[in-house]
């Protein structure tokens, strides 16, 4: 009888001990996402230098009539990063015309007046988050024809990529 009681106590003791051999705790984090409309880019105006003279550099500023322009449509209140792939030369067949000293400006109104200026680059430039859903981006540069620059029409591609940041 005594042995029976002891066995019962032992069983209860071990059972209780096993049940308390665990401690548990937890913590929460959030998974978050912001769903936005697709961002689109439209080529507006080409960057046009018009006629240039051999040996005379020519610059088109972002507010000049020949400035290049891209139009961006985006979600409201979201900033975007503007990244560029820029040529170092315009080409005309085998002939090249150096281009550089790139300038840029972005504005939520469709005018270069009052645009926020920046230097276009592959590394990208962030626009400020704004209430607008459109951003106009203006691009200028300088071409530097040599004194013996071959006559002809020269072209090159300027590519702008846009992502939300």
């Amino acid at each position: 009888m005594r042995a029976t009681v002891l066995s019962a106590v032992l069983a209860a003791g071990f059972s209780s001990g096993a049940a308390t051999l665990q401690a548990q705790t937890s913590a929460d984090i959030q998974a978050t996402a912001t769903v936005l409309s697709a961002v689109t880019v439209t080529a507006g105006n080409d960057l046009q230098f018009g006629n240039v003279t051999p040996g005379v550099a020519k610059t088109i500023g972002i507010a000049d009539a020949g400035a290049g322009r891209f139009d961006v449509t985006k979600a409201a209140n979201e900033g975007v990063t503007l990244s560029f792939t820029l040529p170092t030369d315009l080409t005309s067949g085998a002939n090249t015309l150096p281009i550089g000293s790139w300038t840029g400006g972005w504005n939520t109104s469709a005018t270069p007046a009052g645009a926020t200026t920046f230097t276009p680059s592959a590394g990208g430039t962030n626009t400020a988050a704004t209430a607008g859903t459109t951003v106009s981006v203006y691009v200028g540069a300088t071409v530097t024809p040599a004194g013996a620059q071959a006559a002809g029409g020269y072209t090159g591609d300027v590519t702008m990529s846009v992502v939300y940041f």
């Binding site: 003791g13 665990q22 401690a23 984090i29 912001t34 769903v35």
Partner: protein, 152 residues
């Protein structure tokens, strides 16, 4: 004599029992997908330096731990909209706090049992994928990820 042995055993059990205060689980950062575009799935890997979720757990050295993640199937958005979220088998990484530790990839949908032999601290990193529909309601979405840790 028998009772003495019984009480000694009980005392050992009590001494060996882990206290909840010995383990801590601290949320470090959210799993933040940031801007996602309608119709385009977006994934964040668990090794992403900024956007992966991170929870830090601390327990006595040589503790045997089980941790379990409770994961949402959707994130909740504006006007009751829901954004599907999924987790692949490699969306979890556990990294011991020891300087020479090697990150271990794990399935966040499965329970994990580890023994922290090298450090009292383990960091859990979580990635995932959200899949907005083409007509997904725009706006902010959130869901809760819970890490539950049991120490044996």
């Amino acid at each position: 004599m028998r009772f003495t042995w019984l009480f000694a055993t009980a005392a050992l059990v009590a001494a060996g029992r882990p206290a909840a205060a010995q383990i801590s689980v601290i949320p470090v950062r959210d799993l933040a997908f940031g801007p996602v575009i309608v119709g385009i799935p977006t994934s964040i890997g668990p090794s992403h330096p900024v956007r992966s979720g991170q929870i830090r757990l601390t327990a006595p050295l040589n503790s045997r731990l089980q941790f379990r993640l409770t994961l949402p199937a959707t994130l909740n958005g504006p006007a009751g909209a829901r954004l599907p979220i999924s987790f692949s088998n490699g969306d979890g990484i556990a990294v011991s706090g020891a300087s020479n530790s090697v990150p271990e990839v794990f399935n966040p949908k499965a329970n994990q049992v580890v023994q922290n032999v090298a450090s009292t601290t383990t960091n859990i990193f979580i990635g995932g994928t959200v899949s907005p529909a083409g007509n997904q309601q725009q706006g902010g979405y959130t869901g809760t990820i819970t890490l539950t840790v049991t120490i044996f």
